[in-house]
Every structure is written in C-alpha cells, then in structure tokens.
Amino acid sequence: MSDLKMARYGNAVRVTLPISVANDIKQVQKVVAALATKLGHTGCFSGFDIFFQQEVEYHVNAESLAIEGIR
C-alpha cells in the first residue's frame, strides 16, 4: 500500500493505485495473491469448483447492512 498516492487533479481528487495493489481485492487486506494468475485458462479437472460456494458463505444479510441511499 505504500505506493498508493493521492493528488488533486483539476477539480477531481486523483488516487493512484498500482496494479500490484489493484489487481486483487485481497491485496487491500495485505494478502498477496495476484489476480493476474487467475485470468488465464481454467485448469484441468472435471470436478466441482467450490470457490463460488465458499464465497457465497460470506453472504451477509442485505437488510442488516444496507445503508441509506445505496438503492
């Protein structure tokens, strides 16, 4: 995160995010895993990819977390 920069640019605030930080949401949590390694062809197996299921388990009740103005 130390490479991340902010600056005023015209009327906008510009935030510069190096690809090494931007390319995986986990990077923001200091967990190193590059999205680039996951953008290639899917691997060789004929089973059930449980990643989606695992991620959905983190599902949070929308009503409990919804904030005003989001929708």
Binding site: Q29, A36, L39, G47, D49, I67, R71
Partner: protein
C-alpha cells in the same frame, strides 16, 4: 526414448508457498500452459483471422522458470479428441515454453471443448467426452496428428472423465484409447483417477481398462483425490489420494515398463486446507508408488486383445456421426435446445445433469475470482438468490469462455447493460474491467468515480459496505508496470488517506 522425469505436481497459483519451501520433495513440475497465458485485451474482439491473440503472463512464466526442476507441459485449452482440430494460435507460445524450459514431452486431453454454433466456434467450458466409434477414432487421430506436426516433442493423450453412460454403439473405453493411440502413433498419459471416476460412475473398471491399452505406451500417470456429489464420484482434485487409488496405482505402475513421470493434481481451493507438511507427506507417498515402476512388466498386452472393431460398424444406421455427437453433448451441457434424437436420448442420462452443475460451478467461480468487488457488492446488496439469477441469465445468453478474463469481461458487459439500481455500480464495473485489462496489458488507466473509491473498495475487501459513501468527483489511476500517466500534481502517502476530508474536493 523419453527421459525419466520422476514425481511432481501439476502447477497452480496455490502451490507457490510449497514450491518455495519444499521443492526438494518433487523432481518435476507440470505446467498447464494456457493457465499462464492471457487472451490479448481480454476479449474476443482482438482476433487475427478469427483466432484469438494469446500472450504470455510474463510474471508467472518468470516465476515458474525460477523453480530449479524439470518442467513438463499439460495442455488444457486445446483438447485433441474432437472433430475440430486444436487451433494453431497456441503453437508459438507452446514452442517458446518447450524451448526455454527444455521440455521433453507434453500432453493433451482426449476430449473436445469446441463446437460450431451459427457460423462460429464456441467453447463448451468443459472437457467433454468424444464419440467412441471408429469415426471417433479417426477424427481424434487426425486432431492429434495435426497438433503433433507443429510440436518438436512427443505428444501424449490423457484418458478423460466421462459422466455419461456408454452407448450401445460405442467401443469400450480402453479399446477406444488403444485404437486412437495406434492410429495416431502417440503415447498415453494414464490418469488413474479419471479411470477410477469412470468406474465408480458405472463405466468400465480400472483393471479392464488397463488390460485393453498398450502398456508400453504409458509414459505418464496422474493421481488425484475426488469427492461425492449427488450419487456421483467427481474428479474434483479435492485433496489426498484415496487408499483405493493408491493400491490401484501401485498395482498398475508395476506392469507399465515405460512410465517416466507421476503427478499429483490438487485444485487450489483445496490447497488452502492443506499445509506444506501434509503435501510433503503426500509426495513421499507417491514416491513410494513411483519406486515400484516396471517391476512386474510382461512383454505383451495382457488379458484382452487390442481394440476390437467397434460394435457401431455391426449395428444399424442409427450410429451418430462425431459431429452429431459433439453438437448433442454440447447442447445438453450448455442447456441449449436441440431437435436431435440423440440429444433426447442423452438427456435421460443423469450424468448430463451432473455436468451441467459442474459447468455452472466452473463459470460462477471463474467470474467471482476475477471480479471480486462487483460480486461482493451485488451479493451484499441483493442477496445470493438475486446474484445467482443474474449469473444464470448471463450464462444463458453468453457461451462459456476458457479464459477467465474473457468470461469476467463478458459478465461485466452484461451487468453494464442491465438496469440495476445500485449506487456507484457503474463505477465498480468500469474499475474491475480496467483492472483486468491492465493486468493483461500493463497499460495505466484513469477511471472516473462518483464516490470516494478507496473507502468503497476497502469496505468491499472487508466483506461489508462502507459506513457511508463520500460523493464527489474522483479519478482512480490503475497503474500498469509500464510508464503510467505520471502527471499527478502532488502526491502523499496512503497513511494520510484516513485523514481525508470530504470537503477537500467539493
């Protein structure tokens, strides 16, 4: 004569820690070349003469190059079992990897993953079983010869998984493999877990299969763990090999005189639950199997004779052509309508539904891995059922893509075209599209945001919504590794970000 390579792992991004700390537990690394390629610009529009432009993920290539062990290649995107030969666009990158890593042989699947829909080739998103008839042998042998002609090294073909039951006009699995090998003049990658999966799901037994293939043509073995799913046993690469498979492997490898490598395959999601020590122990276990190789070989194929003439040639005229078979199987797994009688026949096979479920899990996981922010935002905002309804609608309108980047960009395009009332979602869609494109081409991109982006992204990273959105006019620069915009007027460290004052930009 192929060199002896030893035991190893099939590479994936989850293995980096093991390879850095425990490389001495393996002799060889098997790389799935297409997994470290990008489809240029990440989409189908960047094509030359109808072929996608492929580029190397140089960072991954360099990382793998640094591992001091022999490397082999195991193709995943261009199987050789169908009537559409594998595309030649892969050849330059394959040749580079073969040359740079001094690869002695490579392998591909005796499966198909492309059919013609309308006037273009489409991907099935899943390695599908070829038609096991004499015509199936001919088309597969043609595809193998086509690919082999462009390679400077021998090509092995892998025994595949088939969740469908064998049709009455089809050859037995082992006979089909033996016939293809004989017709194409290639070697065999014997994936013992695949054959065990087939046995457990009602197809030919492992021992019968091995009796029907030429033992001297087996140069490589794959082992893996599986899991149960709705009464089927899946080739899930889900963890350690079972005791049953270990026994089969030990028995088989004794009878195979030319095995040069044995690989363990495990899917990255399951690696998260396995530490390096457990993986070391598994490799030691596989080495004990390896040490048994060729100790009980006999000179000729034992048991059953070589491939018999397929019953197809002795039956009536209802035997489908390879193209009819591929179209029917593809339509079935892709849930497309078809008026083919074969489609109706195969539809009754429960294995078809299993393959549909597996394809759904592949595509959904591929999307979620590639665009975690949009996924999480939609999931939190609308819930699982709504997100899945979006996915299903997308899947019904877009064919699968082999490359995760293309699948993800297609989903973002789909989302952008939907009337979804969700604050700053368009910003997030553009953000994730830019991240994917920059990851591929290293070009810096400037994005407009209508809310303060880092608070938003950080909250999603923590699996929550931001406490509040900070409205305003923002730009987010995604920097590639090449020279970026470089025109920011001032900069300050991220540590000051938390002190950020919303009034600053109003």
């Amino acid at each position: 004569m192929l060199p002896e390579a030893g035991i190893g792992l099939t590479y994936n991004f989850g293995l980096q820690s093991f390879l850095e700390e425990c490389l001495d537990h393996i002799d060889v690394l098997e790389v799935e070349p297409q997994s470290i390629w990008f489809r240029k610009n990440g989409d189908a529009s960047n094509e030359v003469h109808g072929c996608p432009q492929l580029v190397m993920n140089e960072a991954e290539f360099e990382r793998i190059s640094r591992y001091q062990c022999r490397k082999l290649l195991h193709g995943i995107g261009y199987p050789v079992g169908g009537s559409i030969p594998p595309g030649d666009e892969q050849i330059p990158l394959l040749q580079k990897m073969i040359k740079d890593w001094d690869v002695p042989w490579m392998s591909e699947h005796l499966s198909f993953n492309k059919v013609i829909a309308g006037n273009r080739q489409v991907n099935t998103g899943f390695l599908l079983p070829p038609l096991q008839t004499p015509e199936g042998v001919r088309v597969a042998a043609g595809s193998i010869r086509h690919m082999s002609a462009n390679l400077p090294i021998p090509l092995l073909i892998e025994t595949g998984v088939n969740y469908l039951q064998r049709q009455r006009y089809e050859m037995e699995d082992g006979c089909f493999m033996a016939s293809v090998v004989e017709a194409a003049g290639c070697g065999i990658l014997l994936d013992l877990h695949n054959v065990l999966v087939n046995q457990k799901n009602g197809r030919q037994g492992v021992r019968e299969f091995i009796r029907q293939i030429p033992p001297e043509s087996v140069y490589e073995i794959h082992l893996a763990g599986g899991r149960e799913y709705q009464g089927y046993y899946l080739d899930a690469h889900a963890g350690l090999i079972s005791r049953e498979l270990e026994d089969i492997a030990r028995e088989a490898i004794r009878m195979l005189p030319n095995v040069k490598a044995v690989f363990f395959e495990i899917f990255p999601t399951y690696l998260e639950a396995m530490d390096n020590r457990a993986l070391c122990l598994e490799m030691d276990r596989i080495r004990r199997i390896w040490d048994q190789r060729g100790t009980r070989t006999i000179s000729k194929r034992h048991g059953a004779p070589p491939a018999q003439p397929a019953p197809a040639e002795r039956l009536d005229g209802s035997v489908p052509s390879a193209e009819e078979w591929e179209n029917a199987v593809a339509a079935l797994i892709l849930k497309k309508e078809s008026d083919s009688p074969l489609y109706e026949c195969l539809k009754a096979d429960r294995g078809a539904g299993i393959m549909q479920d597996l394809l759904y899990s592949f595509r959904a996981s591929m999307v979620v891995r590639s665009i975690p922010c949009c996924f999480r935002y939609l999931l939190i905002a609308f819930g699982k059922d709504h997100f899945e309804s979006l996915l299903k609608d997308f899947f019904s309108g877009y064919y699968p893509e082999g490359f995760a980047s293309v699948e993800a960009l297609n989903f973002l395009e789909y989302l952008a075209g939907r009337p979804i009332d969700l604050k700053a979602l368009p910003d997030l869609i553009r953000y994730e599209s830019a991240v994917i494109r920059t990851a591929i081409d290293n070009t810096s991109r400037v994005l407009q945001f209508s809310v303060e982006p880092l608070t938003f992204l950080r909250a999603l990273a923590e699996k929550r919504l931001p406490a509040a959105f900070i409205d305003g006019e923002f730009e987010l620069v995604i920097e590639g590794n090449t020279e970026g915009e470089g025109d920011t007027e001032t900069s300050r460290p991220v540590s000051e970000l938390d002190q950020y004052n919303p009034v600053f930009h109003n």
